[in-house]
Amino acid sequence: MKSFEDLDVEEALEEPSDYVDPQLILADQRYEIIGDILCEVYEPGEEKWNISDLLDEVFLHRYLGIPVFLVVMWTMFHFTFQVSLVFMAMIEAVFAWISTYTSQIPIPWLASLVTDGVVGGVGFILTFIPPIFLLYLAISVLEDTGYLARAAFVMDRWMTKMGLHGRSFIPLLLGFGCSVAAVLGSRTVEGRSNRLTTILIAPLMSCAGRLPVYVLIAGIFFPSMAGTVVFLLYILGIVMAVIIGFLLKHTALKDEISPLVMELPMYQMPTVHGSFRHMWERGVMFLKRAGTYLLIGSIIIWALSSFGPAGYGVPIADSFIGIMGRYVAPIFAPLGFEWQIVAALIFGLLAKEVVVQSLAIILAVEGQGAIQASLLALMSPVSAFALMVFVLLYIPCIATMAVIKSETGSWKWTIFSFVYQTFLAYFMALAVVSIGGFLFG
């Protein structure tokens, strides 16, 4: 590899493999030209800094950068969880009021369908609109300020040390919103193996679809520190992504690391209009899903919970969903998951929101009271945390798998993605149960 001083740009771009990364050469030349122009037209005056220079001194600091990033991330998730609680209670109260009327429908199966299926399923999932919208609002504000680009820059040093490509962090950040977007965003990563690694680890980032599960479970089992638990799960997702990326890059997907070259935008004061517009554009997708396939899913789950081989009105354990759940439940017995949880996890393969929706319907059809009390009776706090870890790490949804297939063009990698995530989720959940059981009895 030749040194920087010996560089000839045109020659280097023609034969980049003999030189340092071409992007570095281009960036270096671009800034040299900018410097020349500035020397000709700019008269240096009194020393002035702008806010971006000031803040970057700290936010991009070698040692303070990552702790500050963690504080900002914690603030985002704490805001998302704690502020949304009262608005969730409002929506819950509205649906509770609606269900008092729908439960009085004279035809029993129709009353059950509307109350337990539609209101209990879609209505319950709609109570999670506030945290999802607030998470999107927080991400929009961070994006609009210009901090998210700095986050990628700060994480680059750490990720490069682990053998990952610096640009991988940008699609991984998109994964906080939606795993499909994260996998598609990996197109910006250079090099086949770098891109493939990013595609394979992107689903480990916790998408907004998983948030209802965390909010529900953490709110019930860890009420005093729910925001912190949700934050820790997001961090766990990042850590697992980095570990898996490290393993892949040092085994099956070895490739030369290329440096991250990115221009950091100036810090901006986010506008209320801009941030809320971004929040609405992203959040409305969730509303559309709730109004379409989550509604259809509710009806299907209700039907599977209410009907069995013996017809309508069988005990839920003998319903189709009960049979399916009990068939698979022994595999999850070491994790402390009852068949109701297992059935919800199976439906969660369609989309993560469906886990919560399925649980609400199954417990409602079963005739249980409030979902909080039912879940407290179904599992221990350690198993509840294991459930959140499992939901974090197993495949996000069928749509993500389809995008992985289209982006990799390979069934082999798609199946690998499914298999490794399922095993990873299972063994990490098992580790939580084992360690938790040892520590807390």
Binding site: E47, W49, N50, L54, V58, Q82, T228
Partner: protein, 160 residues
């Protein structure tokens, strides 16, 4: 919208800024130590919460404020970045806690079940009460700096 800042305006008294940054940093260190004692059950004070993450947050804030102190003492103007970023982060956390307090108050006013036993004291924690103290300290520096400058200008005018 990024306004250019005249660094001289912000750091007219770098040594005074170093003192104030040290004081702010020590305030956050003290709050973090009190939180640790609260977490360990050694003390039980109404303005603390036994939360490990809050301890980490307070220590990061302390580190940001204290990192710039030695450079400020050496009159390095760019070190003003540390108290500026520290103030910004403190403000962010203060706003977060204030918003949580207000939404909890809303839940209590609407008499929702989960907020029946809520009281304002439950939401008082170090990131909420440290920020006003830090703001007052920095405001005092600016006020002192501004007053001193005006007096110096007045003396200069009088001399002329």
């Amino acid at each position: 919208m990024v306004r250019n800042l005249d660094i001289n305006m912000l750091s007219k008294k770098p040594r005074l800024m170093a003192v104030i940054s040290s004081a702010a940093g020590l305030l956050y260190v003290t709050a973090a130590v009190m939180q640790i004692l609260e977490f360990m059950g050694i003390v039980s004070l109404w303005f603390l919460t036994p939360d490990l993450v809050t301890i980490f947050v307070l220590l990061v804030l302390a580190a940001v404020f204290l990192s710039g102190v030695s450079a400020l003492r050496l009159r390095q103007k760019q070190a003003i970045a540390y108290p500026t970023a520290g103030l910004l982060l403190s403000a962010l956390l203060f706003l977060l806690k204030l918003t949580i307090l207000l939404t909890n108050a809303l839940g209590w006013v609407l008499s929702f079940e989960d907020w029946q036993s809520w009281s304002v004291v439950m939401d008082i924690e170090p990131t909420l009460w440290t920020f006003p103290i830090v703001v007052v300290m920095f405001a005092a520096v600016f006020w002192h700096s501004d007053t001193t400058e005006k007096m110096e200008n007045r003396v200069d005018t009088h001399d002329l």
